[in-house]
């Protein structure tokens, strides 16, 4: 897709004015990852209450795509049912961003946020909920994202 289609007003707006930017003290989930190819960094914090995402924040450094993607993902999952969040797919993220047909190098930027989220959910499921079956499933999904 062309740059004019990628760098739409909305992507630039989320890049320059990220929503839910910051950290949560003592979060239920804290997960950090980086893209070794370009050094993009992302850390997500979540609180889960009554099986729902009670709060979510992120911090990071990186390109407009990775940072807008993270910010838009936090808005997408805020208040959502835990099950729904668990089942988020690559397509959901790209639909939400309105970015399709990104090249192989840049799709990693768009999906870093989902990768961080799924890795965080893996730790939460395996360590706190002791649900190894769901945990393993989500771990596999996270590693298949690139």
């Amino acid at each position: 897709m062309s740059s004019a289609d990628i760098y739409r007003e909305i992507i630039l707006d989320y890049y320059r004015n990220p929503r839910n930017y910051g950290k949560i003290t003592n979060p239920d989930i804290a997960q950090r990852d980086s893209n070794p190819l370009c050094g993009d960094e992302l850390e997500m914090h979540l609180n889960i209450k009554e099986n729902k995402v009670a709060d979510v924040k992120f911090t990071g450094k990186g390109c407009a795509i990775s940072q807008a993607s993270a910010s838009m993902l936090t808005e997408l999952i805020m208040g959502k049912n835990f099950e729904e969040v668990k089942n988020l797919s690559k397509e959901d993220i790209l639909d939400n961003l309105g970015l399709h047909d990104l090249g192989p190098a840049r799709i990693k930027c768009a999906l870093l946020s989902l990768k961080v989220l799924k890795s965080g959910l893996y730790s939460y499921l395996s360590e706190k909920l002791k649900d190894t079956e769901s945990a393993d499933k989500i771990k596999e999904e996270a590693s298949g994202l690139y």
Binding site: Y7, L37, C63, A64
Partner: protein, 414 residues
Amino acid sequence: MQTSMINIEDIRKDFPILKRKVHKDKALVYLDNAATTQKPIQVIDAISNYYLNYNSNIHRAVHELAEEATLAYENTRDKIVKFINAKSREEIIFVRGTTEAINLVAYSWGRQNVNKDDIVVTTEYEHHSNIVPWQLLTKEKDAKLEYVGVDDNGELLLDQLDKYLETGRVKLVAFSQMSNVLGTITDSEEIIRRCKKKGVRVLVDGAQSVPHLKVDLQKLDCDFFAFSAHKMLGPTGVGVLWARKELLEGMVPFNGGGDMIREVHKYETSWNDLPYKFEAGTPNIADVIGFAAAIDYLERIGMDKVREHEMELTKYAIDKMSQIKGIKLYGQMDVVKRGGVISFNLGDIHPHDLATIIDEDGVAIRSGHHCAQVLMERLDVSATSRASFYIYNTKDEIDVFIKSLYRAKELFRL
């Protein structure tokens, strides 16, 4: 448009890849030469000629093909001796690239000579390949790794070097002759002079300098020198470690195996002569042969001409880029003190976004940390964009690049 020094149109005809289009109909403007350069047809032909006509293993067999291959392979070594003004062919070790050359020194010489509380000094503008091997070595030996800092102009702070040298604990100083990010040309002779006074060994990373500057090892007077073929028109997978013969003689082999031995018995082996002692296994024969064609090509143009052309392009690019509002150029602006590598950031456009946008116009640049995260920390940025030039680049291409930067600015509403 072309510089008066060399006939660029003729040179460009030798590079088939420069004729290709990218993104359907855009002429390729290749400005990622610090990562790897394009290859002239002479290099490509030399490699395919080996595979088509005399492919065979070297050094052992007595048949005609093997003899031809051995001659061609060893011919490259002789060309390199002349190209960098080494004393003898015994000092030229073929490796996979600069990274392997530095690792060889760290593992072989380093393990024998660096001990507890000794110091290895490197600089803040090194490529990871001249940092990580020293981290591994100093951690293993409980030694220290220290850094010579970089000032805001992209120059090394040599006072810091003196401070380390005065401790009397420094065993090795390792630095690059040209920064792959800032393009700074290191005052190598001065550093080496200071190290020699204290009896300290010096390793010079020539990955960025040998392709662009005339390098004379007798004048430089370092102890180890490393560079790669692929950044100087040659193939990937070939590089050179040069080291003083007396040092190589005292060093243990890095890899054990075929070709590096004189006699092998059940429990003891004696080593082959230099340089073969350090070339275990079947080497990258085809690409070493291709490397000779690259050296021939550069010698035919003349390294002085290469340098003049790049200085002219760099000056032209810096002048044009400086006029763009919101651009930040890193490092030294005096083209006499820097090579044709320009790192920059444009407003708040992340380098990856910038590279994506200008790629659509056919312009290939690098974006990211350039394997120099220590320097990125020093510059307090997570990444930069980097344009780097070589003999086949033209001012017209720089104009395309500049125009594309303005388009990126517009897309980001800057």
